[in-house]
C-alpha cells in the first residue's frame, strides 16, 4: 500500500492558523494527512508536545510561527526557534530524520505558502518513509529486546 505520512502541525493562532484558514477560503488544495493543533503562540510549544506527537505515530511534526519581528507577543517565535534548534540536535541523536521536524514562518496572509509547505513536506516524508519511533517505543514498553 502507498505510504501516506501523517503530520502533526502546531500553528500559531495569529499567523499560520489564520494562514491555513485563508488557504481554505481560497480553496487551495493540499494532502489530507496533516492534523492541526491551534496554539496562541509558537512560544507555548514544549518539547513534550513534539515528543508526544512522534510517540503517537506522527511521521512528521511541523511548527509554524510568525515571521521574525511579527510575533503577536513580541518574541515568542524567537523562544520557539531556540528550543527548536536544541530539539533538532536531540532528535538527531534519537535517529529521527531531520526533515521530520520543521519550523517555518507563515503569516496570516500566506495561505498559498501554507498549502505549498504542506505539499512539499508531504512529498519529502513520502520519500523518507514511515517514522519507526512509535513501534520501537512500543517494543520497549512490552519489555522485549
Amino acid at each position: 500500500m502507498e505510504f501516506k505520512p501523517t503530520i502533526v502541525a502546531f500553528l500559531c493562532n495569529w499567523c499560520s492558523y489564520t494562514g491555513a484558514d485563508l488557504a481554505g477560503t481560497s480553496r487551495l488544495k493540499y494532502p489530507p494527512n496533516i492534523r492541526v493543533i491551534r496554539l496562541m503562540c509558537s512560544g507555548r510549544i514544549e518539547p513534550t508536545f513534539i515528543l508526544k506527537a512522534f510517540r503517537e505515530g506522527a511521521d512528521g511534526v511541523l511548527i509554524c510561527g510568525c515571521h521574525p519581528g511579527d510575533c503577536h507577543y513580541h518574541e515568542g517565535n524567537y523562544k520557539c526557534l531556540r528550543r527548536y534548534v536544541l530539539l533538532r540536535k536531540y532528535f538527531k541523536q534519537l535517529g529521527i530524520h531531520e526533515d521530520r521536524f520543521r519550523l517555518e514562518w507563515i503569516s496570516a496572509s500566506e495561505g498559498k505558502q501554507f498549502a505549498e509547505l504542506v505539499n512539499e513536506m508531504t512529498r519529502t516524508l513520502e520519500k523518507i518513509g514511515p517514522c519507526k519511533i512509535k513501534a520501537i517505543l512500543e517494543t520497549f514498553d512490552k519489555g522485549e529486546d
Partner: protein, 577 residues
C-alpha cells in the same frame, strides 16, 4: 474524584460546504462510539438559532457538561458557541471547536480521506475538552479617551465623530499639518468636488473642538497596556515627551506613493516633462498646467498602473488611480481645450458609485483611450527626434487594435501606485498589528471584521489597511468609532482569561519565567521565593509555561494535559483497521 464527563458532539454540514466533502453522519457515528460522548448529532447550520437551540436543549436534558462543535474555523464562530453554552448555564470554556471547513472540506478533494481527517480532528477535540475547566470572565474598566494616530481624512473623521459624542480624543499627526493625502488634491472624483473645501472645514472643526487635543509634528514613541487601559509616550517637535492614557486606539496612518523612478521605462527624473499624478495635482492647485519651461503641452499622455498590478513592483491594484486619471482628463480638457489627451491604461477599473458614469462621460470629451498589457507590454518612453514635432514618444503595443504605435507627448503624467509607509512595521510592533505581506495592516477578518485587529482595542481605518477612496476611508473610520463608543458606553470590556498561573508548591524560584515574559507580567515574591503572575498584564501567550523547568506554570485553556490529550485523540485513528 473527577466529575462524570458528559460530552455532546455536534457536526455542522454548513449547508453543502462541509457535507459535500465530509460524510458528516459517519463522523457523528464514530464519535458516538467514544467513551464519555453522551450524544452526537449533525445539523445543517449549527450556528443558526435552531442549531444553537439544539445544543442548549441537549445541555439541559442530557446534562451535558462538555460540548464539541465541528464546523468552520474557531476564528469565526468560537465566540458564538461559547455564548450558546453560557445561555444554557454552562461555563463557556467547557467547549472546543474542530475546524472541518477551512482546514478540511475546503482544502481536500477526496471525500473518504477528508472524512477520515474530520474524524481525527473531532476526536482530538473530544479528548481535549475532557480536560477543560471552567474559567471566569474578567472585566476591566475602559478609559473613555481614544488615541488616533494619523490626521488625514480617516483620522479626522473618526476624531470628530468621537468628540461629538462627548468623548476625549488625542490626535497625533506626524506632519506639520493635518489633512493627509486629501490636502494634496485639487478636485475629487467622480463629482469634481473640491478636496480642499472637504478637508479644510474638517481640519478647522478638529482644531477648535473642545474634546480633541491635536498634537501636530508629533510621533508616538511607545505604547503599553491593553484594551481599556493603554498608555503612550508622544514626542512633539522631536522632543518634549507627552504622556497620554486612553482606552482605545485608531491607527489611521494612510499610505504613500511609490517612487516613480523605480519604474524605469517611464524615465521619471530623466526626461524633463514626465510628472507624477501628485505633481499634476500641485499644478491644478496653483491654477496652471504647464511644461517645465512654462509652455503649454500640445499632447498630454496619462499612463496608468505605474508600479501597480505588476509582479515586479506591487501585485495589487492601487484602487484610486483609474478614476483620478479620468478626473485629470476632464480637468485638462477644460484647461487645455486645444491639446490632445491620451489615456494609456491597462484595464479601466471604474468601481464605485458614479464611477462607470464618469468613464462614459469622459470618453465623450475628445479623449483618446489606448490599452496595453500591464504584465508583458508596458509602454516605453523616449525623447523624440527634432523632426517629430513633439518632445517625447510613447511606444506601445496597443491591445485593442493589436498594433504597435507611437504616441506624441509633450507632457507625461504617471499615475503612481500606492504603498504602505516605511514606518508601518515599527508602528505595527508598538500597537500589536501585523502586516499583510506588503506594508499594509491586516484586519481581524477580511470579511466579517474589517476594522478590528488581532489586538483588542486597536482598530485600523483608511488607507493604512489598503488603498482606498475617500468614502470608503470615512466609512471605515466611522465603523471603528461605533465599536469604540460601544465599549465606552458599556464602561468595561472582557479581557483574556486564558492567563498563566503558578503552582506555588512546584515553583523552585529559578525566575526563568520572569525573564521570558514579554509583558513583565511575572514578578518574584522575595518572601515566598516564588514567581507570581499579574493576571491583568498577562496576555496568555504561554511562553512561561513552556519554559518552566519544573512544570510549575499552567497556561489556562492551553494546559499540557489538554494539548497532550488532543494529540492522542488526533492520532488514535490514524491507521484505520
Amino acid at each position: 474524584m473527577r466529575e462524570e464527563i458528559r460530552i455532546g458532539v455536534y457536526i455542522c454540514w454548513c449547508g453543502n460546504n462541509i457535507a459535500k466533502m465530509v460524510d458528516v453522519e459517519a463522523v457523528s457515528k464514530e464519535m458516538q462510539k467514544l467513551p464519555d460522548v453522551v450524544i452526537s448529532r449533525t445539523y445543517k447550520y449549527m450556528c443558526s438559532d435552531p442549531g444553537q437551540d439544539l445544543i442548549i436543549t441537549d445541555i439541559k436534558e442530557q446534562r451535558l457538561n462538555r460540548v464539541v462543535v465541528a464546523a468552520c474555523s474557531p476564528r469565526i464562530h468560537e465566540s458564538t458557541f461559547r455564548k450558546t453554552l453560557s445561555s444554557a448555564g454552562l461555563n463557556p470554556y467547557l467547549f472546543q471547536m474542530a475546524n472541518i471547513r477551512e482546514q478540511v472540506s475546503w482544502v481536500h478533494s477526496s471525500r473518504e480521506e477528508a472524512t477520515l481527517k474530520a474524524v481525527s480532528l473531532v476526536q482530538g477535540a473530544v479528548e481535549r475538552v475532557k480536560w477543560h475547566e471552567p474559567l471566569e470572565k474578567r472585566t476591566v474598566e475602559v478609559n473613555p479617551a481614544t488615541l488616533i494616530i494619523g490626521g488625514g481624512i480617516s483620522g479626522i473623521s473618526a476624531a470628530l465623530e468621537i468628540a461629538d459624542a462627548g468623548k476625549q480624543v488625542y490626535l497625533v499627526e506626524k506632519q506639520e499639518n493635518m489633512g493627509g493625502k486629501v490636502a494634496c488634491i485639487d478636485l475629487t472624483y467622480p463629482h469634481l468636488y473640491s478636496g480642499q473645501q472637504l478637508i479644510h472645514s474638517k481640519i478647522d472643526q478638529t482644531r477648535s473642538h473642545s474634546n480633541i487635543d491635536v498634537f501636530q509634528n508629533s510621533e508616538v514613541k511607545k505604547i503599553s497596556g491593553y484594551i481599556g487601559n493603554f498608555e503612550a509616550e508622544v514626542a512633539r517637535n522631536g522632543q518634549e515627551d507627552i504622556e497620554l492614557i486612553f482606552g482605545n486606539i485608531i491607527v489611521a496612518t494612510g499610505l504613500k506613493t511609490i517612487d516613480a523612478a523605480k519604474v524605469e521605462n517611464y524615465q521619471y527624473g530623466k526626461l524633463t516633462d514626465v510628472f507624477t499624478s501628485f505633481e499634476l495635482e500641485e499644478m491644478f492647485l496653483k491654477g496652471k498646467v504647464a511644461k517645465k519651461d512654462g509652455g503649454i503641452p500640445k499632447n498630454v499622455v496619462i499612463i496608468h498602473c505605474v508600479g501597480s498590478r505588476n509582479t515586479n513592483y506591487h501585485e495589487y491594484c492601487s484602487r484610486t488611480c483609474c478614476m483620478t486619471a479620468l478626473k485629470y482628463a476632464n480637468q485638462l480638457r477644460s484647461a487645455l481645450p486645444d491639446s490632445n489627451i491620451y489615456q494609456v491604461y491597462s484595464d479601466m477599473r471604474a468601481i464605485g458609485k458614479a464611477c462607470e458614469e464618469l468613464y462614459t462621460s469622459t470618453a465623450g470629451r475628445d479623449v483618446m483611450f489606448l490599452s496595453f498589457d500591464q504584465q508583458d507590454g508596458m509602454p516605453q518612453l523616449r525623447k523624440a527626434d527634432p523632426e517629430d514635432d513633439c518632445e517625447m514618444l510613447v511606444e506601445m503595443d496597443e491591445k485593442l487594435s493589436g498594433e504597435t504605435i507611437e504616441i506624441p507627448a509633450d507632457m507625461v503624467v504617471l499615475m503612481v501606485g500606492m504603498e504602505g509607509h516605511d514606518e508601518a512595521r515599527e508602528l505595527g510592533r508598538m500597537t500589536g498589528l501585523s502586516l499583510c505581506g506588503n506594508e499594509f495592516y491586516i484586519e481581524k477578518h477580511p470579511k466579517l471584521d474589517p476594522v478590528a485587529t488581532t489586538t483588542d482595542g486597536v482598530y485600523v481605518v483608511g488607507s493604512c489597511q489598503s488603498p482606498k477612496d475617500i468614502p470608503d476611508s470615512i466609512s471605515q473610520a466611522k465603523a471603528a468609532v461605533a465599536r469604540i463608543l460601544a465599549t465606552i458606553n458599556v464602561g468595561s470590556v472582557e479581557v483574556e482569561v486564558t492567563t498563566a498561573v503558578v503552582n506555588e508548591e512546584a515553583c523552585c524560584g529559578c525566575q526563568t519565567c520572569v525573564k521570558v515574559c514579554p509583558y513583565t507580567a511575572i514578578s518574584f515574591d522575595e518572601e515566598k521565593k516564588i514567581s507570581v503572575v499579574n493576571e491583568i498584564l498577562c496576555k496568555g501567550c504561554g511562553t512561561c509555561g513552556s519554559t518552566c523547568p519544573n512544570g510549575a506554570i499552567r497556561s489556562r485553556h492551553f494546559t499540557d494535559k489538554q494539548i497532550l490529550s488532543q494529540i492522542e485523540g488526533l492520532m488514535s485513528i490514524h491507521k484505520p483497521e
